[in-house]
Symmetry: C2
Subunit: 322 residues, 2 copies
Amino acid sequence: MKQKKNEDALVARIARALAGTKPSALDCGLGDDAALWRPTPGRQLILTCDWFLEGSHFLRHKHPADAVGWKCLARATSDIAAMGGQPRCFLLSLALPGALAGRWLNQFLSGLKRASQALHCECAGGDTTWENKVLIGVTVIGEVRRARAIRRCGAKPGDLIFVSGTLGEAGLGFRQLRRGRGMARPSNHALRKHLYPEPRLALGAWLAERRLASTMMDISDGLSTDLARLCKASGVGARIESVSLPRTARLPAAEAEGFALHGGEDYELLFTVGPRNAQRLPEKFHGLSLTCIGSITKERRLVVETGQGIQTLQPGGWDPFR
Amino acid sequence: MKQKKNEDALVARIARALAGTKPSALDCGLGDDAALWRPTPGRQLILTCDWFLEGSHFLRHKHPADAVGWKCLARATSDIAAMGGQPRCFLLSLALPGALAGRWLNQFLSGLKRASQALHCECAGGDTTWENKVLIGVTVIGEVRRARAIRRCGAKPGDLIFVSGTLGEAGLGFRQLRRGRGMARPSNHALRKHLYPEPRLALGAWLAERRLASTMMDISDGLSTDLARLCKASGVGARIESVSLPRTARLPAAEAEGFALHGGEDYELLFTVGPRNAQRLPEKFHGLSLTCIGSITKERRLVVETGQGIQTLQPGGWDPFR
């Protein structure tokens, strides 16, 4: 963590709050010009960074500081899961108003620390400054065995399309948060999934280790938007069966389908599997359902098969703040 | 570079603008969930990130977009130089107003590309979004031979204190920029140093490779502030000789001394060397002067020796925007 003038005390507080208790691959973390970190021999590094900005990605008066801390790391780490890797360490760029340097910061750091421990991703450093609103940038460094990472390109016609878990719950949770008054509480599953998403690290690593998936990505912006990206990267199309979509049971079917197709921030994994490998997939992976929702087509367009026939699927990824 | 909805075209533009021409250690860069990168066997990684925010670190109507692009990478890379390492790749977090997505962005990317090539640091990815002002976060990944990195702790009483180059020029350049009208031009050395700083990568790596320096850091916030940090990390004090400070000849001596002691953003290296190793230091390293400005003391305070006697040196690092 680089130390800026008048902020040395703040940096020291953050360092104390995030200090790990386990043996570390860090030879030098917070408090020097930069962190020194030992990569594991034979691994590739996975590098990703993610904005998490007040007003764009969270609302200060709706999202508890603890959830902001958890989510900023969890969502960046989801990109590591999407490559089939394991997170190792992260860098935190934090700008915040002086008025938030007390209780808000403590709660933020508490949520961030819990995510850091749960995701086995230690804080290696960062940069802090003051701003009139909260700006967060998180960089996560992960690792994966060489040539095992799963990318977005490589899906072939005939591959089956799978998703983990249930789609649209986080979107529903955010609707509840917006409609509710004051600070949100994780009072039901949908709100919990919106506030405290859990990147599918174990599933991603398992698929990569066994070379089961031909492509993979995480669903951050909604299935219709993210599947279009996967298809574009692979030069293929896709056909989705509406009836197969794993959706929330807490809404009428048609509304739940809309959330499943376009709701964002589920951080579930979207992956394609060749027909032979598909037989090796369990229905559940450590309790997490794996659902076949359609297949890859040669024709480069996305269609969804409903009771009323086949319709073109427009990327309609739902950005909560658009 | 992660692709956000409505921003895929922007990401593609950035990727094209920053695409390298040389062989790369990147197996997968912009356009997937994350970048895949092969570290060099036997090296430690150096990880650092830096904010560069409109209004705090640069002024949109004073700093040319090209200089913003150059400087955001150069200053983050200076932390790699300060550890004695070599930069390898960077991640760019960029948020900008829609109105700047044309010419401003092109010029920004042009400056960033030049820095990327000059510093041998390729773009591995990033994240983009829209905001009402320009927000930049840069993460740089560097490498250093194991156990060769030079940290801030480890200075011993009797070690000599050295700085590279001339101190206070960038501070003077910023004063000129503030006093000037409209967009700044790099019309003299001080302005060039403020707008287009050059991290001292070759010197840092040379000192690390030969194990010549006991501690090192870069001077980003001003000598008085940064030397205090080095001394604190090492549990020592320092005595500076005012007359030895390498200062600009473009100002009266006393004013130049103030800039040399407290001016920020020079991105020169500050390092300590044991008395025996000091004899192995050249006066110039590839044309860059190396000046002994004082020595480390056991007593934990910073003093400066002037013609008028010995005075306590207060950390007065000059933050241009404070």
